[in-house]
């Protein structure tokens, strides 16, 4: 009897949030995949019946290029973020506890500002009349006619700027738990500093690196605002195409087909991440029982 009333309470408490997310997250996701197989209707609506037209349109000559560009920009961003954040996390973890606290705050602080503002800050910096341009010309690194904005390079810099703290935090969380005496042991046994870093420290923070990979790669694949503001016509990413199909062409089935592609590209690393996380949790739970 008690069990029965307990499960009734559980359902009552679960239903509002579960129901909300089911209706506003799961159902819309299914709709995206369904509409990809619908014809475009008049006035930007959705037509009757089913068709493979939007899916077939994905092999349009311009798409492989955009998909390829989205992939390489996202992968370079992820690699750069991980390469920069590992030494930062290492250094942070070695600081005294008090100082560590305000240093992490210092890293998070600029990211409390709106993300459009951060993109705009870079736009003014890279602009023909901006500080960075003046500086680079003065040092002689670039020609006065070089345009720093509206290309893949500008997108890369701003993407790295945006996602770097999201890579630092998980790697730092892992580095904080790392036992640095292992490094000393490796050095005592005659290992070089670099070798100890690569063979002892890096494997020790594996999970943090993996989380960092996920939190940078997945949103980078779905970038829209950054390539829209600092990128140009020749550096579009999938996100820009989705928005263009939605707002400019008003072809919702086409936008859906593209979104479904992006969703599948994102789903793959996500499933891997959830599976590894689950097995880790189970291991933890199993350990407790024993």
């Amino acid at each position: 009897m008690k069990q029965k009333s307990k499960s009734y309470i559980e359902w009552l408490l679960t239903l509002p949030s579960f129901g909300w997310l089911a209706f506003f997250f799961i159902v819309p996701t299914i709709i995206v995949f369904a509409i990809a197989f619908k014809p475009a209707g008049v006035n930007g609506g959705i037509g009757e019946g089913w068709t493979l037209e939007s899916i077939r349109n994905l092999i349009q000559p311009s798409y492989p290029e955009i998909i390829f560009r989205t992939l390489w920009i996202s992968l370079v961003t992820t690699a750069a973020c991980m390469f920069l954040s590992t030494p930062v996390a290492y250094w942070l973890a070695l600081q005294p506890a008090k100082r560590r606290q305000w240093l992490t705050l210092l890293i998070i602080l600029p990211f409390w500002t709106n993300f459009l503002i951060r993109i705009f800050a870079w736009k003014t910096l890279l602009h023909a009349e901006g500080w960075l341009k003046h500086l680079l010309v003065a040092v002689g690194l670039v020609h006065p006619d070089t345009i720093l904005l509206y290309n893949s390079g500008a997108i890369l810099v701003v993407l790295i700027y945006t996602y770097l703290p999201f890579a630092i935090l998980p790697i730092y969380a892992a580095a904080e738990k790392f036992d640095f005496s292992l490094m000393d042991a490796a050095l005592d046994l005659g290992s070089s500093r670099l070798r100890a870093f690569v063979q002892v420290f890096i494997p020790g923070i594996k999970m943090g690196l993996f989380t960092a990979l996920m939190v940078v790669l997945i949103p980078a694949l779905g970038s829209y605002a950054i390539p829209d503001i600092v990128g140009g016509a020749s550096s579009e990413m999938i996100g820009n195409k989705i928005a263009q199909r939605t707002f400019v062409d008003r072809n919702l089935p086409h936008a859906s087909a593209l979104s479904a592609c992006l969703a599948l590209a994102v789903l793959l690393p996500m499933i891997i991440s959830i599976l590894t996380k689950d097995s880790r949790l189970m291991k933890k739970g199993g350990g407790k029982k024993v």
Binding site: W20, P87, T113, I218
Partner: protein, 263 residues
């Protein structure tokens, strides 16, 4: 042991990389020249020009209204979800957790387009209402995870003891759960509020005529408007966020002793 200087150098470079663009933006908002180029003297004229833009005020009003409604609803939904996940570790709750976790990892643009398609399918008029529905959806996930994190330190025996002593659930919620979870719920609500105020991409997809929020306004003035006032607008926006975050921190610190007393 002598440590390598390399991590220190990278860390300093990264901090400079983080702060320089923002500092230059703030300086630029007081600069008398366009695009923050060479310094042409101190001015407040961009701020004065901001005050005369009527659209900013209506955008601020919209932003605050959306943020307020989505914070209240998502805090209630998220707190309840976290509690039930913590209390009942059944298969249903595993699925519940998975559904809550997914919106956090899906790129914003996918959430934006899928919600837009839902609203188009249901023939719901786009506007402040649809923005609120969208914001409640992603804010609920964040609140749930924040409160769930706090629940890890929560002592369930207190609740069980109160139940054994014949206390009713209403009383348990009022005099045990809320005071003990207060800081966690406040942190979740604060996060929901800032995320709602800040959101651009999802809002961009589900907004309609007359529902311009501040990020939407910032975006459209970046694209079409005069660039001169944006520096000033961004500085004001940053100052506002800073005030919210700092006051939140103070609020939480003040509640800290209560939590310590309990634990």
């Amino acid at each position: 042991m002598k440590r390598s200087k390399f991590p220190l150098i990278i860390s300093i470079a990264v901090l400079l990389f983080f702060y320089l663009p923002i500092l230059l933006l703030i300086i630029g908002s007081f600069n008398d020249s366009r695009y923050g180029g060479p310094w042409r003297g101190f001015t407040l004229k961009w701020y004065e020009r901001l005050l005369t833009e009527r659209e900013i005020w209506s955008a601020t009003e919209n932003t605050l209204m959306v943020a307020l409604v989505s914070t209240i609803v998502s805090t209630m939904l998220g707190t309840m979800a976290a509690w039930v996940m913590h209390r009942y570790k059944t298969g249903i709750q595993r699925a519940h957790y998975l559904v809550m976790y997914m919106p956090l990892v899906v790129p914003d643009i996918l959430m934006g387009i899928s919600l837009l398609l839902l609203f188009v399918n249901l023939s719901i008029n786009l506007g402040l209402g649809t923005i609120m529905l969208a914001h409640i959806t992603f804010c609920t996930s964040y609140v749930t995870l924040v409160v769930l994190g706090r629940l890890q330190d929560f002592d369930d025996h207190v609740v069980d003891a109160a139940l054994d002593l014949g206390s009713g659930w209403w009383r348990i919620i009022r005099s045990i759960i809320l005071p003990m979870l207060g800081p966690g719920i406040a942190a979740g609500a604060l996060l929901a509020f800032t995320l709602s105020v800040d959101d651009f991409i999802i809002t961009f997809f589900v907004c309609g005529p007359g529902s311009t929020t501040l990020p939407l306004y910032v975006y459209s003035s970046m694209k079409h408007g005069s660039p001169t006032t944006i520096n000033a607008l961004c500085t004001v926006f940053m100052a506002l966020t800073a005030v919210i975050v700092i006051s939140g921190q103070i609020l939480m610190n003040r509640r800290q002793p209560v939590q310590q007393l309990n634990s």
